[in-house]
């Protein structure tokens, strides 16, 4: 019994220690293999959707239902890597991941 608890604790602390949140575990992991970085995607969304509310909504839509028509990526990228697979995250996890994504790249407070 004690052992199991210790093991769970260890796993948790390992996860925490490496700073692995849902965004890094899911999105970054997979995107590492892509030639276009996640921040470029982010700025494309910003360019098209402007505000926080609209960007997040567009991301959520795309991640849940990736379609070629809705994609902002270049043709070459889509040819080579195909459409992004439909996310297997739950709604709550997806919301969290997108929030982290937004906070990481948003321009608010960063302009000097």
């Amino acid at each position: 019994m004690g052992r199991i608890a210790v093991t769970i604790l260890l796993i948790f602390s390992a996860l925490q220690g490496s700073g692995m949140n849902i965004y890094e575990r899911n999105c970054v992991k997979c995107h590492e293999n892509l030639p276009v970085s996640l921040d470029k995607f982010f700025f494309n969304y910003l360019l098209k959707y402007s505000s926080e509310r609209q960007v997040k909504q567009a991301l959520r839509n795309y991640l849940k239902h990736p379609r070629r028509k809705a994609s902002l990526a270049t043709e070459e990228l889509l040819e080579r890597y195909g459409i992004m697979p439909k996310s297997n995250l739950s709604d709550e996890e997806l919301r969290k991941a997108i929030d982290i994504y937004w906070d990481k790249y948003k321009v608010f407070g960063k302009i000097e």
Partner: protein, 398 residues
Amino acid sequence: MSASNVTATGINRSERITLIRFIGLYSFLVLMILILGSTIYFKLQKDLMLQTKRLELEEYSKELIDGLKLLHIYFDRYRTYPRNSLYRSAIYDADHVQIFSTLKDPQGVQLDKVIYTTDGVIQYIHVLDSYYLGTKYTVVEIDDDKVWFKEAWRNILLYGGVLLFIFMAAGVVLMRLFLSPMREAIHLLDRFIKDTTHELNTPVSAILSNIEMIDQKRLDEKTARKIRRIEIGARTISTIYQDLTYLALDHQIVSEDRDTDVSALLKERIEYFKILGESKKITFKTDIQPGVKLFIDPAKLARLIDNLLSNAIKYNRRGGTVYIALHPKELVIKDTGIGMEKKEIAEAFKRYKRFKSGAGGFGIGLNIVAMIASEYNLDVKIESKKGQGSEVFVKWDV
């Protein structure tokens, strides 16, 4: 024709009222027109200024957007906002959230407008097609030097003043044009009344003095009665004559005030009017305290008493009574006649108002009473009951 000439018919006052109303209405309209004109002019000047400034601001806006575009592309390396000393600016996202601002006061920004002034600055809003850094709206702001503002006001005051003067001058000319026929008519009427009044005096005095000279005892009953009727008629004309002279001339002449024995004068006037009452079989009942004094022009006091007595007879019923009481500081004259309603009492003091169209007289009586009363601060009150008669109280020194 001087203003004092037009008093006989009381037109002087109504003419003044007409004038004041005309001037009031005219000035109101002129002011409305000027204010409207000024507002339009002001707005045009402002729009003109904004049009000129707009070109400049559009340039600044383009420059800012170019800067934003570069910043958007190189944001991972470079994060300095594109500034320029010539203007201040701010950027907003599609949900009107401010992304960055160098504006003086970011509070007053109106993103639904294009160009406007607020708090001494001019702001220009541009809506972007590509939202660099999420920017949907750029706001570019420069100081409003207010030169146009001062100039617009100066012109409004200057030209407005000149226009106002011209309008007013035109108004005076117009007014004279409109009024001159009316004035002429009044003048004519006025002269006519004065002349006739004057002409009346001699024959009436002649009739009255000749009747007095007749030895009535030597006449037979029938002739004596006829003579009496002639006398009544002549006295009535004489009273009317005196009222007219009072209105036309007397009240403009300086009053000859002195200590007047009201009791004696009142008795004398009652004697004079008794004969007029006879034809209506009117009884006079008096309660006159002797030696009541008042500092007044006796001719005017006579007009006041005459008119009250004359009314008491005129509006009395056949066989009625007139009660006259004089106490220190109070004169009461009461009749048993037709009486008046409340609003008629107020109306009664207005000139040319007759109580009953059947009754004779000029109906100017109470008006004269009111004029004299106000000159000497006498307090006149009327109590009346329809069908039962009226009671007039004249009080002084209260």
